[in-house]
Symmetry: C2
């Protein structure tokens, strides 16, 4: 929502790109969504669906649940609609809506699902409260977020960390929080959800997993960092030479003796 | 081996302390060792057993395998012997020995196990080569290491990171590598092992897991950092006020709205 950063790295996958993220039996989508299954007839609100990158997995994993996927952007919704149609998925309806001003009655959803949204909001607690008001008692709220500060790699590289720090700083300046993953537990607990449980989902990449080296280390994470080059230079957060060294450091971690680690967090609580 | 750092945090558990590390069905020992099971009759070399903190779990998980656990320190071996005896474990014999000069014939072990040892060595590849020479073809080598640079927490705290950096610097100055966890894959691959596979084992701690808050965040990790205070100050790596703020920052992550993350890495390869 605020800025393009997350669009680049998660919302922006094409289906073909996503299927390349295969490692043994695991894709990023499986890592994040495999344990979210809604029963037949459940009415689920997906808040902030963007271009529908998660919607397809979500709806496929719960083919008998009914999803209402909302986003602020009509343009993103058009892309999401096309993606869901192309995937021959029938159990999703889309609606343009603001999380902070939801056009649904109180307690009208059985479950709520939010992925890569809170990171962009200056007041994520307010968004959770709004969503929670539309959730029926006994229903679950699921929240997934990344954490750019969880990134580490081999060989370690100070310039690469400084380039990542530019991303974190830019996201903070636009009112978001690129370190929100580690904060999910207190956010959920403070929202009033019961039995909040958070689990880390680490993406670990070495050259025994070539699909992940290309699909995640290079085409997702490094591409996301590269995407803010102009902003970072314009804001004076880093100079061009240091930036270049930083990107080279990230690419170095994708070589045959390199290793790359990034952690997503998934939280679930009950109203 | 080189320095006291790791003794404090992993080798130093008493049985009682370890049993407090319970979260649902999981202890740190289970997180690290649950998938290491050797068949009946297998002869396994545990290299660098220290005071036997891992030996007990290892031998319990494979009650019909025979372990030879070695360490450089006679004093540590005495403690390990007592611990194994107290646990009524019968399938371990201890021997004082140097990993770089092993008193065993070539290819005399079915499997080799190494936990929290390579981090202390200035040439871990040399140690792996020595161990590999005693491993039979077709046998497995298992290596577990932590990575202090994998640490992140909420609320984030720059002084706490600087205190952790002192530990990393001190370990580097004593010839070790506190960031070795992320490097396991290339180390194993370069050693000539086949089919090297590394998996991260993240310790994720929030206040829904009170046993881990006390057992890991405070009594393991923070205690380990606190253990190098004098060395860090004497080396001029940090001043006393900043150190105090750093420790307070780590303790802050153990409060009810705090979160703490640390990642161990486990690698297995076949000769």
């Amino acid at each position: 929502m605020a800025g393009r950063v997350p669009e680049t790295y998660v919302h922006g996958y094409t289906e073909r790109e996503r299927t390349r993220l295969v490692d043994q039996a695991t894709t990023l989508s499986e890592l994040l969504h495999h344990d979210t299954r809604y029963p037949a007839g459940a009415k689920v609100l997906e808040a902030g669906c963007g271009v529908g990158a998660q919607t397809v997995s979500l709806a496929r994993n719960s083919p008998e649940a009914q999803f209402v996927s909302i986003d602020l952007s009509a343009e993103s919704l058009d892309t999401a609609r096309a993606r869901v149609r192309d995937a021959a998925i029938k159990n999703v309806s889309f609606q343009q809506a603001n999380i902070l001003n939801l056009p649904f009655p109180q307690e009208s959803f059985d479950h709520v699902f939010v992925c890569f949204v809170l990171e962009h909001l200056s007041n994520p607690g307010e968004a959770l409260a709004s969503l929670l008001s539309r959730l029926k008692p006994g229903g679950t709220m699921t929240v997934i977020e990344g954490d750019h500060g969880s990134t580490f790699f081999h060989p370690d590289d100070a310039a690469a960390h400084r380039a990542i720090d530019c991303l974190i700083t830019l996201q903070a300046r636009s009112g978001g929080n690129a370190l929100i993953g580690r904060e999910l537990f207190p956010l959920l607990a403070r929202s009033g959800l019961r039995d909040a449980k958070v689990s880390p989902r680490m993406v670990y990449v070495d050259s025994s997993r070539p699909g992940w080296v290309e699909g995640f280390t290079l085409n997702t994470f490094t591409a996301m960092v590269e995407g803010v080059r102009q902003q970072a230079l314009a804001a004076g957060l880093i100079d061009a030479a240091e930036w270049k060294r930083g990107i080279a450091g990230l690419r170095r971690a994708a070589e045959s003796d390199g290793v790359f680690c990034y952690t997503f967090f998934k939280g679930v609580g009950v109203k």
